[in-house]
């Protein structure tokens, strides 16, 4: 169930939802432990070369993506809500300690629920206006977030998340 605090607006927001056949406990670990997140969080051949997670509201959530050409793109933000196995909300509009960020873009939410031995997986991007949503869509939201969800499932199935 989507958090009652989030009000999804199809004009402003983007949603990826799918059922995946890996258990919710391993999905939670894959998302919240840097050593796991680095392995699947960007579409290959891009990579994550740094990741810092302080898993509490106001705590750091930062990643640095590297392009195949070696250019690095740091992303900094913080967590807003952390409900183990159910919900993770984070944003790049606030830096750690809730400090306003220089380049706010979106708030992200991951929502999980158990379905048998698998997981209903919902990733949401919340934007402030239609133009930002459109830019995110054109940057490849659906392909990108779908690709990394697939990479995550493969990584989990390979037995890499203990």
């Amino acid at each position: 169930m989507t958090s009652p605090i989030l009000k999804i607006d199809p004009k402003l927001d983007l949603v990826l939802e799918r059922e995946i056949d890996v258990p919710v406990e391993l999905v939670w670990k894959a998302w919240t432990m840097p050593e796991h997140l680095k392995e699947w969080f960007v579409p290959k051949p891009w990579s994550i070369v740094a990741c810092e997670i302080d898993l509490r509201p106001g705590g750091t959530f930062s990643t640095t993506m590297r392009s195949p050409e070696g250019e690095e793109f740091p992303n900094a933000g913080c967590f807003l809500e952390v409900t183990p196995l159910e919900r993770l909300i984070f944003t790049d509009t606030l830096l750690p300690g809730y400090r306003p960020a220089p380049k706010p873009f979106f708030t992200g939410a991951l929502e999980l629920s158990r379905i048998g031995s698998g997981t209903r997986y919902k990733a949401i991007a919340i934007h402030g206006d239609e133009e930002t949503r459109k830019n995110h869509e054109e940057m490849g939201f659906h392909d990108g977030w779908g690709t990394v969800a697939t990479q995550m499932v493969e990584y989990i199935k390979a037995g890499r998340v203990g």
Copy 2:
């Protein structure tokens, strides 16, 4: 004690701290109940003509200020942390439901602790850069936030907060 999640930076942030001789329970009510907050939250003769509070992380914190000339200034934002009698953190960088806001300005924190029958009262404004801190200071942060703290104490002492 300041929340361990907040990292106050004197170059970026503004802090008002004082001891007030009213109990922490009444300060908490004065800050979190719209009918009370409206009575003291802006320096008179300005007034608050509307206030909405949904006291939970991601919930609405909005006020509309009216100038003595009758011009209205709405402010919208949301709460980030709500720890009764101790800490309230809110921001205008995110609208309710954590949606990125069109005009991010600052994150505010109220920190309270009991001292005898009174309260140590700390109000913090966290900014993203030095220019924003400077603008906030020039807008009258210290006078303004100090004035409204005094108004709040007078309001509580008048027996208006039950």
